[in-house]
Symmetry: C2
Subunit: 414 residues, 2 copies
């Protein structure tokens, strides 16, 4: 009579985590959770064990989180409660054995269908570094930066799952004479971020910081690949477009927000009082900082260790901001934190920062110098956070390999 947790749990994937993924195995795609190296088909587990209410059981038997996000917390909370009880039950090891497959046999699909995607810019060190490089003659931070979480909408249709290859994008790159040059990006970069996915809310809901856990389902690793040359030429005055819209990668596992309760930490001291709708102190359920430790590996070598606790703006603030103008949320709406960079060089979450725009190349273990991404290179991000009962919570990984740009078409061909 072994519990599933006793039999399967490992550091990162124990009872305190129980994350979700859309898993592909043997021609099927199903919603899964994970205990250690065992990936558990939630629909199969619900069928075998029973005890789950009808709506949650139906959501558990779908290929991804879409039904759970549409159902909202009244569906996802009972599912997590049931799941926790199930894997800690005295006789649960056999059920998990039956409903599970080894993690090294599975692939991953997008865990949810992205509705709108907003990317923020919430790290003071990142915004300062980018400001210094992109606008060397001005103050690094714009006057708005410490008054609101600056963000913009990205392209939902090119959000892809970890493991998807990233084809080097093409576009107009700046030149010394001001006439741009068309071709493959030569400054292809990453942005190491955390992403958050939401349930829906009708127009005019104005989600408060305190209510954010009713709408934010969970968090995941996120890499907002960026072509710095294309971005630098195009981005004024309406923001980044093609320099980002070719691909953004979502990590393999979505960790429920509840699993991050033990990771909640104070945010950095804020320079100005924030508007009342952005208050995120104890009266709004705070603190809302998150002690997530990221790792960025290039071809297997760790090149950065970003720390999420440095972020100036928190996820509940980002959600409150996004809805304060009266706009709606749809299930699957997601937002990224923006690049996670800290004050130390080895905590910077992008190569443009790590190499200071190419002026201070990164020296890799084999002695080669690294500035921006080369074809064939792989970037894999990982992250962990403190979980309940002294456990560690793992986010799995977010990985992508750079493929060469596609051949340019003859403009007359079509």
């Amino acid at each position: 009579m072994t519990t599933a947790v006793e039999k399967y749990a490992t550091e990162g994937f124990g009872a305190a985590n129980l994350p979700y993924a859309s898993v592909t195995h043997d021609g099927r795609t199903f919603l899964a959770t994970r205990l250690g190296d065992r990936v558990i088909d939630l629909g199969a587990l619900a069928d075998r064990v029973g005890g789950l209410d009808a709506e949650a059981a139906a959501a558990a038997s779908t290929p991804n989180l879409d039904a759970l996000l549409a159902g909202g917390p009244s569906v996802w909370r009972p599912l997590r409660t049931w799941l926790t009880a199930t894997v800690t039950a005295a006789d649960s090891a056999d059920a998990v054995a039956d409903a599970g497959v080894p993690v090294d046999e599975v692939g991953y699909a997008m865990p949810f269908t992205p509705a709108d995607y907003v990317d923020y810019y919430a790290s003071e060190d990142h915004a300062t570094n980018i400001g210094k490089m992109f606008r060397p003659d001005e103050a690094a931070l714009k006057p708005n930066w410490k008054h609101l979480p600056v963000g913009y909408h990205g392209r939902s249709g090119t959000v892809v799952i970890s493991g998807t290859d990233i084809v080097r994008p093409k576009g107009l790159r700046p030149t010394a004479d001001g006439i741009p040059d068309f071709g493959p990006s030569t400054r292809l970069d990453i942005e190491a971020e955390m992403g958050f996915v939401c349930s829906g809310a009708p127009t005019g809901t104005e989600v408060s910081v305190a209510e954010a856990p009713e709408y934010i389902f969970g968090a995941f690793l996120f890499n907002d690949w960026s072509a710095r040359d294309i971005q630098n030429f195009e981005y004024v005055p309406l923001g980044p477009n093609l320099g980002k819209s070719f691909a953004s990668s979502v990590g393999t596992w979505v960790v429920p927000l509840e699993a991050l309760d033990a990771a909640r930490v104070e945010t950095p001291q804020r320079e100005f009082p924030v508007a009342s709708y952005l208050e995120d102190g104890p009266s709004a359920g705070g603190p809302w900082g998150l002690d997530i430790h990221l790792e960025v590996d290039l071809n297997g070598e760790t090149v950065s260790r970003p720390e999420y606790r440095y972020m100036y703006w928190t996820a509940p603030q980002m959600l409150a901001h996004m809805t304060v103008n009266g706009g709606s949320l749809r299930p699957g709406d997601m937002f990224g934190s923006g690049t996670i960079s800290g004050p130390e060089k080895n905590t910077r979450g992008s190569f443009i920062e790590l190499s200071w725009g190419g002026k201070e190349p990164l020296v890799l273990a084999d002695g080669t110098e690294m500035v921006f991404l080369q074809d064939g290179q792989n970037v894999t991000m990982r992250a962990t956070a403190p979980g309940a009962n002294g456990e560690t919570v793992s986010f799995g990984e977010c990985s992508g390999t750079i493929l060469p740009a596609r051949p340019t078409r003859d403009a007359q061909e079509a």
Copy 2:
């Protein structure tokens, strides 16, 4: 033996147009076309008349354009061919009578489900006017403007159908001391645009200008409501966000791109040669300018007559730009042209331009002065273009009425 065209066609809605809408009538929502004041249920017409291939007939019997956009030109072209033949057939008046209802009895739903939404900035006069007002100490146009169609992603989830009331948005507005103030926008504005909706294309398609008609299904009136105060404070460096994301209105009828062939005109002279992927001259099927005449009415009084032929960048260029980096298209991807403003004051497509930021208020017919939108005011846009055989093509209307801002929540309430 009267033809439907003979019996029903009026100026704007004759055989040369045959636009599409998602119409609500008597508790049903259906895909419809229009002849004069007769709104025709396409599924009912296909059932009665027959002769449509199975895929097109299935798409015709759905509530909106989603199936047609997913099917692509191999579905939408046969449908239009069949529809044209049907309404010009010798005995078609009775069939259209049976399948139709009077236009004054119908409502409208969103004609398609927006996937990603990109908004461009393609009018030189508009970009120059806004540049002068937002950045008075700099050159009005940024160095990139004449080299690529500048654009950014907007919020798909708040794209609404004409007739939807627009609640005044709230947000952080700039103040003289640099500490922003939270409250309802006092500079609520319109942007008179045309929108375009697309079929899908896989990652890496790189749609050429010449191929654009294979992907752009049709055009519609579009009003990108803008809170200029919120926008002005937030927009650097990542572009507009909450100043636009509260609502954008789509016009009632989507006009197929083929119906605009007679409206094709030369574009304005371009200052620089464009990159080869943006070439839109005769070798790429050009010219691609469109001679669409817009009208902006405030409470029934015409305050502006924007002319689309002034646009520097064309719709096929916008689509080619959007995909040249290797990104995908999804059925329902849409893009807006950006505000349509011409050199004459009465062709400016926004109130910030019409009133020059409030410095030159518009004087209405009743003698009152107008700067930005007041609660209760209605804005209705209309547009026409030359159609085949000397006909006129009408886009219907795009209308919205301003409601007061919602009461601000107590930040502690939740």
